[in-house]
């Protein structure tokens, strides 16, 4: 009579590429199509202090999910303070206002709410999930965390050393080394090449004053977006929004960031004596606000995007059994975009795998997809949105925030079906030619004899 499931499932889609960076980007990029029928009734709520939120009311489960983002993530860190945003994200439930760590966590536990913060390259995120009947207590704790984090010495030292330990523990890990080498090869001196997790040295140097200064710069009403889903009405939400965000400064203090084109046409070789070699390729991407974005997105879907039937999946895995996973994604950041391909394959067939990938890309660049492939891709991206993005209230809250960050508008859900439907085969072929014709950046990580060969 097993009454509950505690199996440690590792839910990884086989086509997911190995680079964590790519996986994150894939997730961030997933909001690309929503069938009109995926009825999400969004209300725009504006509080007295001018904080706005998108709200989806739903009373079928007695929960409220809150998600918010402040524009400006780790790229806003001062040079030499890498890891600042990540460290800050670990300290919001470690004491705030008049409550030290123990008191804060005790109250959080009592209120039955879960609070989490995380930092991205371009934004700083917070989430809270609470039982509707504990709403007031939960929002009060969130208000304390957002406005008055304490950054006390013990939690600061502890979280900092936990982060440093995690970094040190991966120091000899080939994948980690590969990610670092890849980022600096692709982004050069740009902040995107910096390690978001920082280094043990940068983390050790960060003080509570650094954290307070960074908090003051980032946390403002002017760069804030909020999404709320669940058992709460607009009027009640207004009160809670003022409680949590009403006292923040009107505008943040963000430094301008340069746009960076990923550096293509280069080869990076990293030698490791392992049974598997991993491959990464980078091509130019397509900006999210480019009118040709959907053509590029559909093209990428056919090439190696999210399904078991992409061209790369078919050629690399299904026909030849060369890899467990292979995929491509358009990585869109605020100041850069790229199309990236990744896989891990048996070392003695790394060159063969690379050449299969290059062939698939070449054919796509020269001929584009077929009419049928495009029709299938459109069906997929139209249908997949609700399933990928709207299946839990936390997922819906996340989507509400992402839509606001991308400035896509509340009517985007209806518009997107039209936008996707309107993409022509010629436009997709043009996107393929534009993105895939040039020489990519290629990185091979693996045994010396394989990594060193000309590919």
């Amino acid at each position: 009579m097993p009454a509950l499931l505690c199996a440690p499932f590792r839910i990884a889609r086989p086509q997911a590429v190995e680079a964590a960076r790519l996986i994150v980007a894939l997730v961030a990029l997933a909001f690309v199509a929503l069938p009109a029928k995926a009825a999400v009734d969004i209300q725009k709520v504006e509080s007295e202090s001018g904080v706005t939120a998108w709200l989806v009311e739903d009373y079928s489960v007695p929960l409220i999910s809150v998600r918010f983002a402040f524009e400006g993530g780790s790229i806003q860190e001062p040079a030499g303070q890498e890891g600042l945003a990540r460290l800050m994200s670990g300290l919001f439930d470690e004491g705030a206002g008049g409550l030290d760590r123990a008191a804060f966590q005790e109250q959080l536990d009592q209120s039955g709410a879960e609070m989490s913060f995380d930092s991205g390259a371009d934004a700083f995120y917070g989430s809270m999930r609470m039982l509707a009947e504990e709403r007031e207590a939960a929002f009060s704790l969130l208000a304390l965390a957002v406005n008055a984090p304490r950054f006390d010495p013990e939690p600061l030292a502890r979280i900092s050393s936990q982060l440093a330990n995690r970094i040190a523990a991966r120091e000899n890990d080939p994948d980690t080394k590969a990610s670092i080498a890849w980022a600096s090869a692709i982004y050069g001196d740009h902040p995107y090449a910096r390690r978001q997790e920082g280094t043990p040295e940068t983390l050790a140097a960060i003080t509570a004053d650094d954290l307070r200064a960074f908090h003051r710069r980032l946390f403002a009403r002017g760069n804030l977006v909020v999404g709320v889903v669940g058992a709460i009405d607009a009027e009640t939400l207004k009160t809670e929004l003022d409680k949590v965000f009403g006292s923040l400064p009107a505008e943040p203090d963000l430094q301008p960031v340069e746009v960076v084109e990923p550096k293509v046409d280069q080869k990076i070789l990293l030698e490791f004596d392992l049974p598997q070699a991993s491959l990464r390729l980078a091509y130019p991407g397509m900006r999210r606000d480019d009118p040709r974005f959907f053509a590029a997105y559909l093209m990428n879907h056919i090439l190696g995007g999210g399904t078991f039937s992409s061209r790369l999946f078919e050629e690399v895995r299904e026909k030849r059994g060369l890899a467990y996973g292979v995929g491509s994604t358009i990585v869109n950041r605020d100041y850069s975009s790229a199309l990236m391909i990744g896989t891990s394959t048996r070392a003695d067939r790394a060159q063969e795998t690379l050449s299969v990938i290059r062939d698939v890309v070449k054919t796509m660049a020269e001929e584009g997809p077929s009419e049928q492939e495009l029709a299938d891709a459109k069906n997929y991206v139209l249908g997949a949105y609700a399933i990928n993005n709207l299946d839990t209230s936390s997922a819906i809250a996340r989507t509400l925030v992402d839509l606001q960050i991308e400035e896509l508008g509340m009517d985007y859900i209806e518009r997107r079906e039209e936008l996707i439907g309107a993409v022509t085969l010629d436009e997709v072929r043009e996107a393929a030619r534009l993105l895939l014709s040039g020489e990519p950046a290629v990185m091979i990580v693996g045994p010396a004899d394989e990594a060193g060969k000309e590919g």
């Binding site: 009579m1 199996a7 440690p8 499932f9 060369l322 299946d391």
Partner: protein
């Protein structure tokens, strides 16, 4: 095509699991009785051919999760054929006599659906997430591949290469995963839980078409499966569609009871050490064989659940408070109870040092935390808070259709019932501090444990 394995016991995952998966239904005290609740009642129905059907209505979005669970996993494999259950899971995505290779996946993709599958020690499951209109098509395809799979050497060869690469990615490339395999292989002296779900490399390499066909014919039949449908549907609709699709599949021969080799009495403490150049920071894990919900006496598995929560279930646990916050000697610590196994299962603790502290100090401090519970028990407040966290996690679980389908599927596929899930909160509530203490005393003895050390190539264990 994923699988669940035990090597994934990372602290962060432990926390996520505690909040998302280790849950049952909402306790009666918290659920208001309304017409809506009546509609969302979980129901069970059995087709004439033996297929068990569980329906979990959830009408918030036009999405349905269709999950078919087979009551077979890696622990059911024939000796020498490790990995066949997982390999076979991959082969289920090949063609049938009615549909060419990849056609099912293409159909799912065409409508924007999601699909995947996973294998564990005791079960194998396949699922799709689609709009309700597509449910019948999914059922038709799934029923078709229950019987009509085409297993040619042309599909077997490349797919075996794929799972070899999968093993490389998940295990050979990860020192922590390699150590986990060795700890399990040492912990279980007789039971197949000591064999990795994905299989040993040398046995995977030898798997062939005859093995696949034998596995298919033995285990893939409606009377060895549980269908779980969660989402925007009614029990009535699911029953009608299932009868029209799965209902046409003939019942297979009755399988004998799943009686696996039993563990002998364990009375040694063993250690396993892996040194690897890729490891820069040492860590340890310690495991014991303990009863699961299937094999425990009443209340015992519930007590082990609460013990794992109080001892090492996140930032409010004793291990975190003492070793990480107060003493500052550990960067990570935790405890984990694999509760849902069909047979006796494992309870684990783990830890890694911080700063100048040594691995031995962290291990000794963890042992001291266990001794403290064995000798002095847990406080009423700790117990109450741990129970409250469990109950809360069950309400949060209702938010995830797929999570709910997994809870019911895993329970039913390992011999449990809907009632077990619904009564679970009350059974958790009933656990006393004395029961938690005696579970620790009875099972977490240093004299019959396995400790695994993961060390840098140059590290001396002090």
């Amino acid at each position: 095509m994923i699988f669940a394995d035990r090597s994934a016991r990372l602290p962060v995952l432990r926390i996520v699991l505690a909040l998302v998966f280790c849950v049952g239904a909402v306790p009666a005290a918290l659920a208001e009785t309304t017409a809506q609740d009546e509609e969302s009642r979980v129901t069970r129905h059995v087709l004439d051919n033996g297929l068990e059907i569980i329906v979990i209505p959830d009408h918030r979005a036009p999405v349905v999760t269709h999950m078919l669970w087979y009551k077979t996993g890696s622990a059911d494999e024939t000796p020498g054929k490790s990995g066949i259950a997982h390999f076979f899971e991959h082969l289920m995505f090949k063609g049938t006599t009615n549909h060419g290779p990849g056609e099912f996946s293409r159909r799912v993709a065409e409508i924007g659906g999601q699909e995947n599958a996973f294998t564990s020690y005791d079960y194998t499951a396949y699922f799709q997430q689609v709009t309700p209109e597509a449910l019948e098509t999914m059922m038709a395809f799934e029923a078709d591949r229950m019987r009509n799979l085409v297993l040619s050497d042309e599909v077997i060869g490349p797919e075996r290469d794929v799972i070899i690469e999968e093993r490389n990615s998940r295990v050979e490339n990860e020192p922590g995963a390699l150590l986990g395999e060795e700890v399990d292989a040492t912990l279980y002296q007789n039971h197949p839980y000591g064999i990795p779900v994905i299989g040993w490399m040398h046995e995977i390499e030898e798997l062939n078409r005859a093995d696949a066909i034998a596995f298919y014919e033995r285990y893939y039949a409606p009377n060895n499966a549980v269908l779980v449908v969660a989402g925007d549907v009614t029990a009535e609709q699911v029953r009608t569609l299932a009868e029209a699709t799965y209902g046409k599949v003939a019942r297979g021969p009755d399988l004998p009871p799943r009686i696996r080799p039993k563990e002998p009495e364990q009375n040694t403490s063993r250690t396993v050490t892996l040194t690897d150049a890729r490891v820069t920071r040492p860590s340890f894990r310690k495991a014991w064989v303990v009863p699961s919900y299937s094999t425990a006496e009443p209340g015992e598995a519930e007590a082990l659940d609460l013990l794992s929560e109080i001892l090492g279930g996140g930032v409010r646990s004793r291990a975190y408070e003492t070793l990480v916050v107060e003493k500052g000697i550990a960067s990570s610590v935790g405890a984990y109870f694999q509760s849902d196994a069909l047979d006796d299962t494992s309870f684990e603790i783990y830890g890694a040092p911080r700063g100048d502290a040594t691995l031995a100090e962290v291990e000794a401090a963890m042992d001291a935390e266990i001794s403290r519970i064995v000798d002095d028990g847990v406080t009423e407040k700790e117990l109450a808070m741990a129970k409250k966290r469990y109950v809360r996690s069950m309400i949060f679980a209702r938010d995830s259709q797929q999570g709910m389908a997994r809870i019911y599927g895993a329970t039913l596929a390992t011999g449990g019932t809907i009632e077990d899930i619904e009564e679970w909160p009350r059974r958790i509530e009933a656990v006393t501090a004395e029961q938690v203490k005696s579970a620790a005393r009875r099972y977490l003895s240093p004299d019959r444990s396995v400790t695994g050390y993961l060390l840098p190539a140059t590290e001396e264990r002090s």
